[in-house]
């Protein structure tokens, strides 16, 4: 899947609030950015974990919802035309002729003098079944995502979970499946009420099953699932099926960047506090993922780190240019970049 090399000034790993604001600070200094995120949307934790929860400590915004903060940042950085590469994980980082070459899980390749890691607590990945036998089934009869709906035609499917992913796939696969059941620990669901109503209707018509309980074991041979052991309120049962789709939400993990040769401390990347640069020249880390004496995991700290990072990043991008410090209030040059001149 190798694609053409994308050449840019700055590649930002992570499109959460701190990565987004770095686009703004970079843009003011004339640097353009590409951003990568493993989620299929921008906003990081603000959008994924707490879109409708209030944040009270953003300067000059007495209260702001998680998603609202993301929307406002997207509006603020629009003049700088950032390019987003979503649903893919930054995988490999190599030094090639004095520049950084970064490859994602989707095969997108970048070359840039500067890489900024604004990856928060890591990338969001599906939470896996914590059963020792689960790994043997994964990819053959146990799945944490659906890539091709058609691959599940004629299968005997068990879907686990109570959120939107579980219910949506349960409903989407029901017409194709030989038989299908949903297992969830309660008879209440986080998923959209409309999906829950559709699921209940299918169950009432006898076209699908709902099992209240929790998965405690997987049975099968050579990676092929034959039955799932479920603890229900009335005791343990064996549910025969050949496919298990488990949707237990997402978790955050450092992922491949742990192997990039970065100096780590307690799962965070060590940086200096002048430029927030890592031990690799031209690779910076800002926001929750970086650590230094006195570090606070606040969004506002990440904004500050991004601004200072750009001062040094500029030198890598434009070694022959002189950087002059200007305010957005008064600089006609900055007004032009902001599109307000």
């Amino acid at each position: 899947m190798a694609s053409d090399l994308i050449r840019t000034d700055m590649v930002i790993v992570g499109a959460g609030p701190v990565g987004l604001f770095a686009v703004f600070e970079a843009g003011l200094l004339g640097m353009s950015c590409h951003l990568i995120d493993n989620l299929d949307k921008v906003g990081g934790q603000c959008a994924e974990l707490y879109p409708d929860k209030p944040i009270y400590d953003i300067p000059a915004l007495p209260v702001c919802m998680g998603q609202e903060l993301v929307d406002r940042l997207m509006e603020q950085i629009r003049p700088f035309n950032p390019v987003f590469h979503l649903g893919q994980q930054a995988q490999r980082l190599e030094r090639v002729e004095g520049r950084w070459r970064l490859t994602t899980s989707a095969g997108t390749r970048f070359e840039s003098p500067v890489v900024v890691i604004a990856a928060g607590a890591g990338s969001f990945v599906p939470r896996k079944l914590p059963l020792p036998e689960a790994a043997a089934f994964e990819g053959r009869s146990l799945f944490y995502a659906v890539r091709r709906r058609d691959a599940f035609r004629g299968r005997r499917i068990l879907v686990a979970g109570g959120g939107d992913s579980a219910l949506d796939w349960f409903l989407a696969l029901q017409p194709l499946a030989q038989d299908i059941a949903l297992v969830h620990r309660r008879d209440q669901f986080r998923a959209a009420p409309d999906s829950v109503a559709k699921m209940r209707a299918l169950v009432e018509r006898g076209e699908a099953r709902f099992i209240q309980g929790q998965i405690t074991g997987l049975l099968g041979t050579d990676g092929q699932l034959e039955a799932v052991r479920i603890r229900t309120p009335s005791g343990e049962i064996l549910h025969p099926c050949d496919t298990l789709l488990a949707f237990y939400g997402l978790k955050m993990e450092l992922g491949p960047l742990a192997d990039w040769g970065l100096e780590l401390e307690g799962g965070q990347i060590k940086v200096d506090t002048e430029a927030f640069e890592t031990n690799l020249p031209g690779v910076f880390a800002i926001g929750d993922i970086c650590t230094y004496p006195g570090k606070l995991k606040l969004i506002l700290s990440g904004f500050h780190e991004g601004a200072l990072m750009c001062q040094k990043a500029f030198k890598y991008c434009f070694p022959d240019k002189k950087l002059v410090f200007r305010y957005t209030t008064s600089s006609s040059e900055l007004h032009k970049r902001l599109g307000v001149a």
């Binding site: 707490y50 109570g162 995991k297």
Partner: protein, 104 residues
């Protein structure tokens, strides 16, 4: 000072000094025990999942629906499961005993 007792995933029990008004998650995290608490305590994940000793479980205020929904994302949920970020330390809870749920 009030105390809480926390059994880690290896089965070792830790006696922790408990600041009143802190959440159990905060007390456990500040003591350096391995509790992920990914969302920082806003009831938006399930990585501070603990099992509360039955005698103490009954004395806790009922969980909000929001906590129940997040527990849906935990694994090996039991009748005594709670999210420790949603339990505020009070004098009445002096001596409470909880076990860290498996990580996944």
């Amino acid at each position: 000072m009030a105390k809480i007792y926390v059994v880690d995933r290896e089965g070792t029990e830790h006696e922790l000094e408990a600041e009143l008004g802190w959440s159990l998650m905060e007390i456990i995290r500040e003591a350096g025990l391995p509790i992920e608490a990914a969302c920082g305590g806003c009831c938006a994940c399930a990585t501070c999942h603990v099992y509360v000793e039955p005698e103490w479980f009954a004395r806790l205020p009922e969980p909000e629906e929001e906590e129940q929904m997040m527990l849906d994302e935990a694994f090996e949920v039991k009748d005594t499961s709670r999210l420790s970020c949603q339990i505020k330390m009070t004098e009445e809870l002096d001596g409470i005993r909880v076990t860290l749920a498996p990580e996944f």
